[in-house]
Subunit: 239 residues, 2 copies
């Protein structure tokens, strides 16, 4: 089946967690809003349709045959078994999904460092609030999330290479993305925290050299980090 | 099976979305942190365990036999089919879960109106920021979420009584909780918005009179809304 991913064409954003899974699995997919012929109008048509049976609240969403599925973690819940990126048993799938939802919470908090008041305002319109929120994020929340995932790697009964079981899962790909994004946004905070989180850094490195993923990361399909996405680099927020 | 719910014993919070499902289904469960004999120490022991196979990042979490499941929406994904609170087919389950995740996003935004800077600080330490964020929430985000769910009720091919299919699902119970909580926190904003969202209000009313739920809501098991939970009433935030 050819999957259709719908997401904002100029940012990695939440869509990137889905792209990484599709790319790592070598899945047949198109990134609809980035296609010259279909582009944003195709995405907006589906998003604003008055007749869609299951309209998404927001991108990303995935079209898989007749199904339209939104919410990043829900898309990965659906794709995981189909792409061989999660163990087969229900307990492992729930565990992987639980971790993905914890990453989703982390993503919101990373985003809200630069938009603590409103997504509808520019960063420049909420800079003092952003400085306060980012200071709390880098001092309290970022270490708490990193500690949690570092502990999971240490405790995984199947070994310290991956978060769920003994093989790579979509959660590992998402963890790679978190480390990469946080390094872009908060290089000073991450330089301080990485030495005490060696397993998380090693996981990032292990994922980044997977052949299909490495090819993707060096291709034009991988959008660069920028100041429109979730992870943005404002030096004044990186205390 | 007797389910064990673990959540902060003095607030409705995120745990309430799980409690509503268990109560509506008449499930056999205990609310562990509220039991005189086990209480908070039992929850903290599990939360801080160094040997737990699948440690939660935060409450709520559910113990079901050997499984420990965290993340509110993930718990409902697991419970839904077991409690008869979601249709059986995969497409409907993904759709219900997608809506629950959209509600989870809404919950974060409702919470962050009073804590836009840090969950580790008191409201009083972030009041000016809270006023700005709450003004955006009541003017922009709250109508956007309400409009979305109102449209879903209007468009449901199986009728306007419920959000998913033709019978009640855990998503309807959660929508009841959103309306109830938002009325407590933002009575003025809700009084303004309810007349244009009649189907959502009717859903709230329809859920509230379900026999087991009505019994629960009038029992001591239903904690009152208060100023420690997600939904808090600060008149200055209800513009």
């Amino acid at each position: 089946m050819r999957y259709e991913l719908y997401y904002w064409p100029e940012i990695q954003g939440r869509g990137e967690f889905v792209r990484l899974a599709l790319e790592d699995a070598g899945a047949d997919y198109v990134d609809v809003a980035r296609l010259p012929k279909r582009g944003m109008p195709a995405m907006m048509r589906l998003l604003e349709s008055r007749s869609a049976k299951h309209p998404p609240f927001a991108p990303p969403f995935l079209k898989a045959g007749e199904l339209v599925i939104a919410q990043t973690a829900n898309i990965l819940l659906f794709l995981g078994p189909r792409l061989g990126l999660v163990p087969k048993d229900e307990a492992s799938r729930l565990w992987a999904h639980q971790l993905q939802l914890t990453i989703a919470d982390w993503v919101v908090e990373a985003h809200d460092t630069h938009h603590p008041i409103s997504g509808g305002l520019y960063y420049e319109e909420q800079r003092p609030e952003a400085k306060r929120r980012a200071a709390d994020f880098t001092a309290e929340r970022l270490p708490k999330f990193l500690d949690y995932f570092e502990q999971l790697l240490k405790r995984n009964p199947k070994g310290t290479d991956y978060l769920v079981g003994k093989a790579v899962s979509y959660v590992d790909l998402s963890m790679f993305q978190m480390i990469a994004g946080l390094r872009y946004a908060f290089p000073r905070a991450m330089a301080r925290l990485e030495p005490t989180h060696p397993r998380s850094v090693a996981l990032h490195d292990r994922v980044s050299v997977r052949p299909r993923l490495a090819a993707y990361l060096s291709s034009e399909r991988r959008l660069p980090f920028n100041q429109q996405g979730i992870f943005r680099h404002y030096p004044e927020l990186d205390g």
